[in-house]
């Protein structure tokens, strides 16, 4: 039996390490493509400035990339160390995209990132450009396979439970790969990475423009970044809407939490712009609503119905009752795999097996589960509404703010007046953290909204953890927090230092400060 503290601590540890890893991933996804774009301009025009631009941003990219690689290792380990039941239960399906990621994407990205860094003098410009594109392709393919794996947790398609091996098994790789959730999530997430990189490059460039340093590099970088950014932000919003549309069908409980929807009401339903959800009383305080909007957003029609928490809890209660015979049949089959009665009973109820597991948390022998225990388990089927509700709104609001920012930026850049709008350049610098927060909020909505399941409707989170002692979990948590805190301080320091020093080449004609800065930096180097 699982110690609940261990499950909670495992969740906390996974959330911390995943959110930390996800600080570096989006920037990597976007920067690789921006570097490829910058280098393309260099190769086509042959102008040295674009080579310097590519190399400068490449340096910042690598500082970020190192920590992305390092913290990615943790994620792979954690499935086995902290979520061992999950790993053995769905490894047949979940392991495959992870291994394919390594084979198809990660090797490509990592092998060529070495050549990208060290190969400037060894490769012809066209060859080096190809290498840069392969890094971009690799990092984005990597995201594709990871999100295919993640989408199995959101919408488990292409798999079934095999009582002979007591686990989930793959039935169709193409169903797994071409799951709508996977496709929508991949484009939404990878383009969110492009937005992140665009805001980052534009923000750092704006800082140079404000300081009147490296202006030639900064002006060109800013222009490229905002063009890239406006397109990407428009894409990310459109695709976020598509993801919501797909997700609504896959996980009505997540949708109800995102929208703070406690009761099913007749269509067309209003959208809660602002509300303060109370899980205990199953109601919202201080709602500000937009009429009709929810039905329009979620079902793309005025007649579409969206189920509320009350209806979803009733469904869960029924499915738990239907799942109980499946769990008890499975126990018989474990001792006696050939038992025909148990097999028949299992197959009659297998689609609700996961719901049977939900009540097993309260009634280890599910056949004697009381109505109270079933009701408690059914309440568990609804995720924590307030954090999901607010994370979602924060993500959307930041997305819209970035769209507005990029539209303005493009207008100012096109009219060539951005350098006169000092206030706007200040905003551009302050925008740098915004996409990072939006990405993290997106992760929270996707993963917290999926609770109480690790694999939606199939495997509850409480069962998925390893059987460890609380002491082990505290030991590992302290270790991660200590190491990661040191790392982020080091990374931020190096990043800020590299930005302050800029491209130390000394021949930036428009900036009298550059050569002096480079000289000072030279003294610092000793």
């Amino acid at each position: 039996m699982h110690d609940m503290n261990v499950v909670d601590l495992s969740r906390l540890q996974f959330a911390l390490t995943a959110l930390y890893h996800f600080l570096f991933v989006p920037l990597t996804l976007g920067m690789t493509f921006m570097l490829a774009a910058m280098e393309t301009v260099y190769v086509i025009t042959g102008r040295e400035i674009y080579k310097r631009i590519t190399q400068f941003w490449g340096k910042l990219f690598l500082i970020n990339f190192a920590l992305g690689v390092a913290t990615g290792l943790t994620m792979e380990f954690e499935f086995g160390t902290n979520w061992s039941f999950y790993s053995s239960f769905v490894g047949d399906i979940f392991g495959a995209p992870l291994a394919i990621e390594g084979l198809m994407a990660f090797f490509l990205e990592s092998t060529f990132v070495g050549l990208m860094t060290f190969g400037w003098d060894r490769l012809r410009p066209g060859q080096h450009l190809a290498v840069t594109y392969l890094v971009a392709l690799g990092s984005n393919l990597s995201a594709l396979w990871i999100l295919i794996a993640n989408s199995f947790m959101q919408l488990p398609e292409g798999a079934h439970f095999n009582p002979a091996t007591m686990r989930m098994e793959l039935t169709s790789l193409s169903d797994l790969i071409f799951s709508h959730d996977a496709q929508a999530k991949f484009v939404h997430t990878s383009i969110a990475g492009y937005v992140t990189a665009a805001v980052f490059v534009a923000g750092v460039s704006a800082w140079y423009l404000l300081k009147n340093r490296h202006t030639d590099l900064a002006r060109r970088s800013f222009r490229m970044a905002v063009l890239f950014g406006v397109l990407a932000t428009a894409g990310v919003i459109t695709l976020g809407d598509a993801l919501g549309f797909v997700g609504a069908q896959a996980q009505p409980t997540k949708l109800a939490a995102m929208e703070g929807l406690w009761k099913t009401e007749p269509a067309p339903m209003p959208f809660n712009l602002i509300a303060f959800p109370s899980q205990k009383y199953q109601t919202n305080y201080g709602e500000i609503q937009v009429p009709y909007a929810l039905s329009l957003l979620v079902t793309h029609s005025l007649t579409g119905n969206v189920p509320g928490v009350d209806e979803l809890e009733q469904d869960a209660t029924q499915r738990i009752r239907d799942g109980i015979p499946a769990v008890s049949a499975l126990k018989t089959l474990s001792a006696n795999p050939g038992d025909p009665d148990a097999l028949a009973q299992f197959h009659a109820h297998e689609k609700d097996l996961g719901y049977g597991f939900l009540v097993q948390r309260y009634a280890p022998d599910v056949t004697v589960a009381t109505d109270d225990q079933i009701a408690t388990a059914a309440r568990d089927a609804i995720p924590q509404v307030a954090p999901v509700f607010w994370s979602f709104r924060l993500m959307v609001a930041l997305g819209l703010a970035m769209l507005a920012y990029f539209v303005l930026a493009v207008i100012y850049t096109m009219r060539n007046i951005v350098e006169r709008k000092r206030w706007f350049l200040v905003i551009a610098v302050w925008m740098i953290p915004v996409p990072f927060i939006a990405c993290e909020m997106g992760w929270v909505v996707a993963e917290l909204g999926r609770q109480p399941w690790t694999v939606f409707g199939v495997l509850p989170t409480w069962m998925s953890a390893s059987t460890h002692s609380v002491g082990y979990m505290i030991f590992s948590l302290i270790g991660f927090v200590t190491l990661y805190t040191i790392f982020i301080i080091v990374e931020m320091y190096l990043m800020v230092r590299a930005i302050r020093r800029g491209p130390d080449d000394g021949h930036d004609a428009h900036s009298p400060h550059t050569s002096q800065a480079a000289r000072l930096a030279g003294y610092a180097e000793g």
Partner: protein
């Protein structure tokens, strides 16, 4: 039924290929980390050492990640049981490995000597610890690991952290470390000059001798050990759980496969031959040849362990009947088949472009070049 058993054996072999790839490619980088402060006596020499593997360590590291991913995909029960059972060891491994990308990327970013020293030691830990753990994990497989399953295959590990550091495991850990030092040294010979070259050559000769001695002692040790053998069970190619077999422990049975198929003695002989010839080649300044012979030594060592254990992957010392074998811990037929397909396409492709990357960056790394190159570590 037949196909499933064949696929299980293919994945057992592919797992071996990945482990050897990991040992050779990651092992050489970790060897460099371990010997960094010995072969490089000043900052420039250390930078030269780091830049010899600088363009490749990141790609090499994927062998490790892919190894993990492949165990996850092909033998999920092994992945789950081993990673959660070896919890503390896995965390030490992970934490030491995390320092490596940062060590490479961040070390030379600041001029301060103390900053660089800290990262040198980080690189030492992240080279030394994982290779010892890698070998020690293998050593523990021969003794068996105390774990058992509940009815629904929830695994429980009942041993302590310190029990994993038993004498035989430490011996295996040191064997793994010495081979990694050998690979690191020959890599330094390939790309280094002058003092670096000579110090590396010295280490290559020593580590080859140490590895030969440790491998021989290990062989005698295993000979007297109680091995595992399957008494009854559903057999190969049948979907099953680890709850359906009987396993007995018999002295010397880790040699049963060699006794049944004498041709298999080629595998340990390859191990010895690789180490011996590798040491001689390093002595004769044929460093590229020595590197390849080191890879052959790894093939021999990992092959010997795998052959001895076959079909066991993770024996249970507390509940031998629930030991994990390739038959009861592999993925389903469909997953194994798809994964074979992907491996067949991508492994040759990876080898091809990795070779190209090494070809592009071939040659000696010069100290004066490093000092002036702003892309260098």
């Amino acid at each position: 039924m037949e196909t499933y058993a064949v696929l299980q054996c293919i994945w057992w072999l592919l797992l071996g290929v990945l482990l050897i790839g990991l040992a050779v490619m990651v092992g050489m980088d970790m060897g460099v980390g371990t010997i960094l402060r010995y072969v490089g006596r000043n900052d420039v020499e250390r930078r030269v050492a780091l830049n010899i593997i600088g363009p490749h360590w990141d790609g090499n590291q994927v062998w490790f990640i892919l190894g993990g991913g492949a165990v996850f995909a092909a033998f999920p029960l092994i992945y789950a049981t081993a990673f959660s059972g070896f919890y503390v060891v896995m965390l030490l491994l992970l934490w030491s490995m995390i320092m490596r990308p940062l060590g490479f990327e961040y070390r030379s970013k600041l001029p301060s000597t103390s900053w660089r020293n800290v990262w040198d030691w980080a690189l030492f830990i992240s080279g030394f610890v994982p290779m010892v753990v890698f070998g020690a994990a293998f050593g523990n497989l021969f003794h068996g690991v105390p774990f058992h399953f509940e009815w629904n295959l929830t695994s429980h590990y009942t041993g302590s952290f310190l029990a994993l550091l038993n004498p035989f495991a430490i011996l295996c850990g040191l064997l793994s470390l010495s081979l990694s030092v050998f690979m690191g040294s020959t890599t330094m010979m390939n790309g280094g000059e002058n003092e670096i070259y000579e110090r590396a050559r010295n280490l290559a000769r020593i580590s080859a001798i140490v590895a030969i001695v440790l491998f021989a002692i290990g062989g005698f040790w295993v000979h007297g050990m109680a091995g595992y053998s399957i008494a009854h069970g559903p057999g190969a190619g049948v979907p099953q759980t680890p709850l359906q077999q009987g396993v007995s422990r018999v002295d010397g049975s880790w040699f049963a496969n060699f006794a049944a198929h004498p041709l298999l003695w080629v595998v340990p002989v390859l191990g010895f031959a690789g180490m011996l010839a590798g040491g001689l080649a390093a002595n004769a300044r044929r460093s590229h040849l020595a590197w390849w012979l080191g890879a052959v030594a790894w093939l021999g060592v990992i092959g010997t362990a795998g052959t001895a254990l076959f079909p066991f992957l993770l024996p249970s010392s507390s509940t031998p009947d629930q030991s994990l074998t390739i038959w009861n811990s592999s993925s389903s037929e469909l997953t194994l088949a798809w994964m074979v397909g992907f491996a067949a396409v991508f492994v040759p492709l990876i080898i091809w472009y990795t070779s190209w990357a090494f070809y592009v960056m071939r040659g000696k790394v010069k100290a004066d070049h490093i000092v002036n190159d702003e892309h260098a570590y």
